[in-house]
Amino acid sequence: MQTLDEQLDAALAGKRDLETQLSDAKGLLDEALKENETLTASNKELKEQAEHAAGLITGLETDLKAAQAETDKLKADAKTAEERAAEYYGAANPKPAPATPKGEPQGKPLAEQLAAITDPVAQTAFWRKLTDDQRAELLATT
């Protein structure tokens, strides 16, 4: 059986162990608290960065939508090479106004030109110059 001194020594040793453990635990707690503060600060910073990024993304999305809308509009307005060629040279464009060999515009319709002729020689000459299409056009318009 231990004596009172022995028991006291053991108790004191236990107390010291516990104090040591407490001190270690306090150190750990302090570290944890510090780390928590650091993490909280980091978290706050990250949150701020995330919010900023979200703002940027929203702005970019708006820009993208605007760009896409403009692209669609340009695409709608744009013509294919075939359409452009047809516009310049072909059927899509109204026929160029008829011109004389001198390049002067033939203002009056064929029927009016024919009706204005009062000389048989000129009438024959005029008729002979007409193409089959022009003759058909004349016959169709009268």
């Binding site: 009062t118 048989p120 009438q123 024959t124 003759r135 016959l139 009268t142």
Partner: protein
């Protein structure tokens, strides 16, 4: 100025008829002519310049107007001939008929009118006007290249200018000439090819060639002629109608002046539409040695 047609359908029909009109009257190129769509009345006189028939040149003696030969080189021709041909169809047919059919109808009429005009002009080719035949009478089967050369010699006998000579031959004589080896087997393609393929000879032995089926016999066995433009003067004008027609106008070829009149009129009682083609013309003998007759045996 002459009337012009105003209805496009009539213009088309008339212009289509102009080609057969000109083609059928091609032999008139052998004569001196004054053709025009200018309006004229029957019995008007037209001055026809004689081509290639001037008198001899003069030695200058102080006056350029001396020995001027206008009386010789111009022949007054009276427009005393007026032929016409009329075709008709009912108003319903006129509406329902396709335009080419009407063109064919008028084309046939104008061709017949041209033949009749030509035949009438050929009645002037008589012994009384142009003397003895250029060569003794011969049959169609004897018409060959050698005979054409003989005719050429006959023209030289009367000093017919070698330029602008024409030879108008009856169809049978022309056909026999086509069979001559000189034509059908000629190595000269422009002579042989149209002859064999198209039965056409454009020129031979210095003559412009014309084939015709309408030469009148004239009671003298006429089968052709060697002609220079100075031999006969022909005039043609447009006879302006006095009455009012649905459509009336002159139809003319700008180059030659060959002209016919075109009339469309309606008989309301018979419900018919008439188209008349007509020709006002005249002709007159010019130089007797300008045409040498060819007669059959």
């Amino acid at each position: 100025m002459a009337n012009t047609l105003t209805n496009v359908k009539d213009i088309k029909v008339a212009q289509s008829a102009l080609a057969p009109w000109m083609h059928s009257l091609l032999p008139l190129r052998a004569f001196s002519s004054n053709f025009s769509p200018a309006p004229a009345d029957r019995l008007d006189t037209i001055r026809v310049p004689l081509i290639g028939a001037p008198s001899a040149s003069s030695d200058f003696a102080g006056d350029y107007t001396a020995n001027a030969d206008s009386t010789v080189s111009v022949v007054p021709v009276v427009l005393n001939k007026h032929k016409y041909k009329t075709v008709h169809m009912t108003a319903r047919e006129n509406i329902e008929t396709a335009l080419p059919l009407l063109e064919n109808l008028v084309g046939t009429a104008i061709r017949q009118l041209a033949y009749d005009v030509l035949q009438d002009i050929f009645t002037e080719i008589t012994a009384a006007n142009y003397g003895a035949p250029v060569v003794p009478a011969f049959a169609a089967t004897a018409c060959d290249y050698a005979k054409i050369i003989e005719i050429r010699e006959g023209c030289a006998d009367v000093k017919m200018p070698p330029e602008m000579r024409s030879l108008i031959l009856d169809d049978a004589y022309f056909s026999n000439l086509l069979a001559d080896d000189v034509v059908s087997k000629s190595f000269i393609l422009p002579l042989a090819q149209p002859g064999v393929i198209e039965a056409r000879i454009n020129r031979i032995a210095g003559f412009d060639m014309y084939e015709t089926t309408v030469l009148p016999d004239n009671g003298e066995n006429l089968v052709g002629m060697a002609a220079h433009p100075s031999g006969l003067a022909v005039a043609m004008r447009y006879l302006t109608p006095v009455a009012k027609y649905d459509e009336a106008g002159a139809v003319t070829d700008p180059q030659t002046g060959l002209t016919f009149g075109y009339l469309r009129h309606t008989d309301t009682r018979a419900n018919k539409v008439y188209i008349t083609v007509e020709c006002l013309y005249g002709f007159k003998v010019a130089r007797a040695d300008g045409i040498r007759r060819i007669v059959s045996a």
